[in-house]
């Protein structure tokens, strides 16, 4: 708010006020749907309605004690973690390769790598189904992990690529001139410095898998139902406020992940001791 004190002219003050008002409205637009669902999860009633008849934790209790929900949470975790790990390896390697590749085909290759983000999810899902069915990968964890890896990898390429763009290539050269093999230079110099980029890449990859529902609808058997898939059928079959409890838990997990990431980023800034 110290900016405010330097504002002198009336028109500047009006502009400042307008900025505040408009920003607040945009903020509400973005966040209101999420906030609206939160109180419902603490409702003591069985319907998703306001006003709340009373407060209780019964839907959280229901969520935790339901084998169906817990199994789907477990599935989401397994598939999310595995596809994150896989897409991190693929995406980071791709980003590293693309970063030092000077060719006029680069935009073409980049567009190709990023295509899973652009292609509508349903089309990817149908395609994957027909591709995976003959080789027995439908209705299996491996199939889902591979499918989610394909979806998540572009996000890793984008975030890691952006980090590498600000990476000073002279540092890699310096490491080499000091005797570090490419692998060692990567491990001791490049990796620690691009870690924040990797972390946000991982976060995006995990989030992509964690809330993906279309591919799961096509490919997952009853064994592999994920959390979003369970919520989806939950809404269709019986609208129970347990869904809202699940939603709050999902949101909380995301917020914690984001906060961790920001903490990591700040720590890294501090390590660099400000700008060099």
């Amino acid at each position: 708010m110290s900016d405010n004190s330097s504002l002198r002219t009336p028109s500047q003050r009006i502009a400042w006020t307008a900025t505040i008002v408009i920003s607040t409205l945009v903020f509400i637009f973005l966040i209101a749907p999420i906030l609206a669902i939160m109180p419902l999860s603490f409702s003591s009633g069985s319907y998703l309605t306001y006003p709340l008849p009373g407060l209780s934790l019964r839907w959280y209790d229901d969520f935790i004690n339901s084998p169906r929900w817990m199994n789907s949470l477990k599935n989401s975790m397994i598939i999310g973690t595995a596809s994150t790990a896989l897409s991190m390896v693929l995406g980071t390697l791709a980003a590293l390769g693309l970063a030092q590749w000077k060719s006029r085909f680069k935009p073409l290759v980049l567009a190709f790598v990023l295509s899973p983000v652009v292609v509508p999810g349903v089309i990817t899902a149908v395609g994957l189904y027909f591709f995976f069915a003959p080789i027995g990968l439908t209705g299996s964890y491996l199939g889902l992990i591979l499918a989610h890896t394909a979806l998540a990898t572009p996000f890793v390429v984008i975030t890691v690529g952006a980090t590498l763009q600000s990476f000073d290539t002279n540092l890699a050269r310096a490491a080499a001139s000091l005797g570090a093999s490419p692998l060692e230079a990567f491990r001791r110099v490049i990796l620690p410095l691009i870690l924040p980029g990797l972390a946000s890449g991982a976060l995006f990859a995990f989030a992509t898998s964690f809330d993906e529902v279309v591919i799961v609808l096509f490919m997952a058997g009853p064994e592999q139902r994920t959390l979003p898939r369970e919520m989806f059928s939950g809404i269709r079959e019986n609208i129970s406020p347990t869904i809202t409890a699940a939603a709050v838990i999902l949101t909380t997990v995301s917020v914690i992940l984001l906060a961790t990431l920001e903490g990591l980023r700040r720590r890294n800034e501090r390590l660099k001791g400000g700008s060099a």
């Binding site: 002279n170 310096a174 000091l178 001791r188």
Partner: protein, 374 residues
């Protein structure tokens, strides 16, 4: 080596027929042959795009020659990756690892070589002592000034006793005073440690201050390689004469050549005798080069004994503290500069060199070089 000495020590680095092109069409480096002796401080000097940095990068292993071979201690290294070349390098932007402390930065080349802990620690402290930064060992690069960072980069490039140290415009980012101080420090390190240094810069005064020999690059070709004083006194062509130090250029045509000297008719009128350095023969056009400090101004009308005496008109005088410059119009060159020695500054005030005054300039034939036309 023969017992009779004479044969100089074999070259530590030898570029043999090196060519480099990035696009397959334009040669950035054209047919480079260059030898660097052990213990030598050699500077690659030239304007940007002259091929000097590309040459350094090929030596470091970050660029691959299109043609030719580079030898380091008689061993061909074209196919040796940078990390196996045992060459230390100092970069213009320091390239310190921001996530490591100063001590860890300096220890980096030792730890990748798996030097044992005690010895590594010993050498790191010695290096820190050398750059007088023992107290800053636990700081991070971001907390240091530019000059301090470059000292650390130096220590890091020297701590593993490489065969050769490359410096790519290491002082380019520092201010003038610090740059001059660092020039002396680097020169001192070179002398006390006996290291071989290949230094790249576009700053000719830096090159003159520090180097044993200077290779002047232009347009992908080494124009001349020589000691600083030889480059300054005996440039082989107009580019070198112009690039090293201040220089007055007069265009003309060779009338006669008599052994080492020629008589040149100036395009702007008059004729002078000059040393024939780089002229093909009578009738050829030439650029004459005369250093500002080798010219004397004589008042109008005074008779002079030399063959080179040209009328001049004073344009301006510039006071520069330790000396002054007179800018004259001589034979069509309106920026003909003459360095006035200390003590003659009085002339500035007393008006004999006021703008518009007519005077004469004289210089000895041996101080006037007839070079290739520009």
């Amino acid at each position: 080596m023969e017992a009779g000495m004479v044969t100089p020590a074999p070259a530590l680095v030898r570029f043999s027929g090196i060519q480099k092109t990035y696009d397959g069409e334009n040669l950035v480096v054209k047919n480079l042959d260059l030898e660097i002796r052990k213990g030598e401080f050699i500077t690659l000097l030239g304007p940007s795009g002259s091929g000097k940095t590309t040459t350094l990068m090929m030596l470091a292993g970050f660029e691959v020659p299109t043609q030719g071979e580079i030898y380091l201690a008689e061993r061909p290294i074209k196919n040796v990756p940078p990390h196996k070349r045992d060459i230390g390098m100092v970069f213009q932007n320091y390239a310190l690892f921001p996530h490591l402390t100063i001590a860890e930065n300096i220890a980096f080349p030792l730890s990748v070589r798996k030097t044992n802990k005690a010895e590594a620690q010993e050498r790191v402290s010695a290096a820190l002592r050398m750059i007088k930064m023992e107290t800053l060992a636990q700081r991070r690069p971001g907390q240091l000034s530019g000059g301090q960072q470059q000292r650390v980069a130096l220590a890091r490039a020297l701590v593993f006793n490489p065969q050769l140290v490359l410096m790519d415009e290491p002082l380019g980012a520092l201010d003038k005073r610090l740059r001059e101080q660092m020039q002396l420090e680097i020169k001192q390190l070179h002398e006390t440690m006996g290291i071989t240094v290949v230094y790249v810069t576009h700053d000719q005064s830096e090159a003159l201050t520090m180097s044993d020999r200077i290779a002047v690059f232009n347009d992908g070709i080494v124009q001349q390689i020589d000691r600083p004083d030889a480059l300054y006194e005996h440039p082989v062509n107009s580019f070198v004469a112009h690039f090293i130090g201040e220089n007055n250029v007069l265009a003309g045509t060779v009338e006669t050549i008599d052994k080492d000297y020629c008589r040149v008719a100036l395009a702007g009128g008059g004729a002078v005798t000059a040393r024939a350095v780089n002229v093909s023969g009578a009738g050829a056009s030439t650029s004459l080069s005369v250093r500002p400090e080798r010219i004397a101004i004589v008042p109008d009308g005074t008779s002079s004994d030399g063959p080179n005496r040209l009328p001049a008109k004073v344009q301006n005088t510039i006071y520069l503290g330790d000396h002054a410059l007179a800018v004259l119009d001589v034979a069509g060159n309106g920026e003909f500069m003459v360095k006035l020695p200390p003590g003659t500054h009085d002339n500035l005030r007393h008006g004999s060199l006021g703008p518009g005054e007519s005077v004469f300039v004289t210089f000895r034939p041996e101080d006037c070089l007839a070079l290739d036309p520009v």
